[in-house]
Amino acid sequence: MEQLSGGDMLLRALADEGVECIFGYPGGAALHIYDAIFRQDRVHHVLVRHEQAATHAADAYSRSTGRTGTCLVTSGPGATNAITGIATAYLDSIPMVVISGQVVSDRIGEDAFQETDMVGISRPIVKHSYLVKDPAQIPAIIKKAYYLAASGRPGPVVVDIPKDMTAPDVLFDYHYPETVRLRSYNPAIRGHAGQIKKAMQLMLAAKRPIIYAGGGVIQGNASAPLTALAKKLNVPVTNTLMGLGAYPGDDKQFLGMLGMHGMVEANFAMHNADVIFAIGARFDDRVTNATDKFCPDAKIVHVDIDPASISKTVRADVPIVGPVDSVLNDMLQIFDELKQTMDTEALSQWWAQINEWRAKHGILVKPRYETTSEALKPQEVISTLYEVTKGEAYITSDVGQHQMFAAQYYPFKYPRRWINSGGLGTMGFGLPAAMGVQYAHRDAVVACVTGEGSIQMCIQELSTCTQYHLPVKIICLNNQALGMVKQWQDMNYGGRHSESLYEESLPDFIKLAESYGHVGVRISKREELKEKLTEVFAMKDRVVFVDIQVDPQEHVYPMLIPPNDPSGANGSMRDMFLSKTERT
């Protein structure tokens, strides 16, 4: 058997696991590992400029490909810098493996230089973690880490490796296990047949059904059976922020995103539904508004791989624990076997009602922003972006108004194209995420929709884009403010803009981009928008920073009215602000 050092075993194990790329940043405790990287060529390494970016890039690599992303950081500050990205992946259930260097074993606990208890600090935000105590265990631990990250409800796994575990002068037999079994970990592989049948019967008897599909459908690669089921039943579909793309955004059965900044027609349909088929979604508070007013007439089917997600905030009438793809396929089969049809008359009434809502309120049918003003509207920038990229781009985003506009005005046709931090809402995610996506899809069009606030949280990555030729396009909706914060201050704090403005301190993004060797383009007029954006996307090999001056006064609407809002009826999914002056 081949004899390898701990560091070499680690790299070999990663290669044998099929890891093509590590996003990382070196430092003392990781130096044996970095030397091992130097000695091999099966696993590539992308040197980011901040460990947070390594985690986001690995995370987005995973989101866009379905393959587990990998990052590598050193101990202490390297490890703590990775924490935001681990939490980001955790809240969106993204498979990722984070390898961190640690001080040598016999210094652990002595407050050694660059020591932090990584396993301890990351514990609440990982699916699982390992501290390597014997180098011989490295291959087995790597195997388990990737298995845990990707199976069941996916999530990040930390492998903390004390420096002595990877020392070059101690050799071990290398063997990479082919399979892995953990007696304490057995994720469901099939939904309960009886429950699935019950769910199907409930759907068949429904008069006002809706499918509410979340990010789990994307993570579970179940878009095809979801679409097939929706088509067979002719049932309306809404997606969560994380689920966008799970159902084709340009299909007429699609009602758009639901929830806080969801479409009126989607939220109304939820509120009035008699059966909600929830799949891979978790009844997040950003979706449900007040749970005691949530969908009063609905019977709820809830399908999820994670039993703890079911009946967590909203009680399910028919809980189904299982992988979303297999459950949907079982549904389809039962449908064929039962040879029953939906109540077509009720359904056509339901559709008539929905289409009426859509005609009246649909923001893609009839844009709610006015385009007569001088200032460019952020919404029209996204619509033009959609046009110019033919709806085919990978769009990453940061967090704020721009994120919501992107979610609303770029109807994603496919899964894994919309890459955003939904659960944690991490500003700084967008640019490193775009790098991870571009790395995985060399020839694809990748755009990062961001704000002048968020982009500055990881802007150093412009340098990484230069080094690795990652020609991402940065679409910065520059509204001169922490727009989402300012919107809340306008709505709830009497317009007092406490610390949400920059007082003329923004950099010249064009010059900044140019200093990294990139192209900078400024857009401020409606007439030039489409033409310039077209030029931007024609520059296939260049990173282009597009600084777009948009109307700073714009708010994101529709918006659910929270419970206890002084404006009266509120708290349910049908209570929404439609603009600064109108409400449902």
Binding site: V119, G120, R123, P124, K127, H128, S129, L131, L148, L182, R183, S184, Y185, D306, P307, A308, S311, K312
Partner: protein, 163 residues
Amino acid sequence: MKHIISVLVENEPGALSRVVGLFSQRGYNIETLTVAPTEDATLSRLTITTAGSDHVIEQITKHLNKIVDVVKLVDLTEGAHIERELMLIKVRATGSQRAEVKRCVDIFRGQIVDVTASVYTIQLVGHSDKLDAFFQAVGEASILEVVRSGVTGIARGEKVLSL
């Protein structure tokens, strides 16, 4: 309502902190916690007593099950079970008190395990309610120190918690 949850976990470093962390992280409360290795050296058994609505208990057991190191668990309070706690208690015992305390210990089927001229150290095993009752009986004023092990428990009858 009070629940007693018995949990078998991998005997790995960090396993206990994952369980305890879950409770603090999600705002569940732990009333008592006992941990010890089992006859199978690869497993430890934890007994947790907690209180909460059915919904909260359901979430607790689901989240516990999600922890990778958790192998198996059972909510003992769902069925007939035996529940025990051990208490060591130091009581001032001088003069006429000595006989009084001794009688009380006998009634509660405790044992005096250490004696000095002025202090009895008493061991008492039983249901937590019985231990609480002993407090009352012996009189709070004479109690010098108390230590309780926390609850452990086991199901009655044929039911076993094992792999």
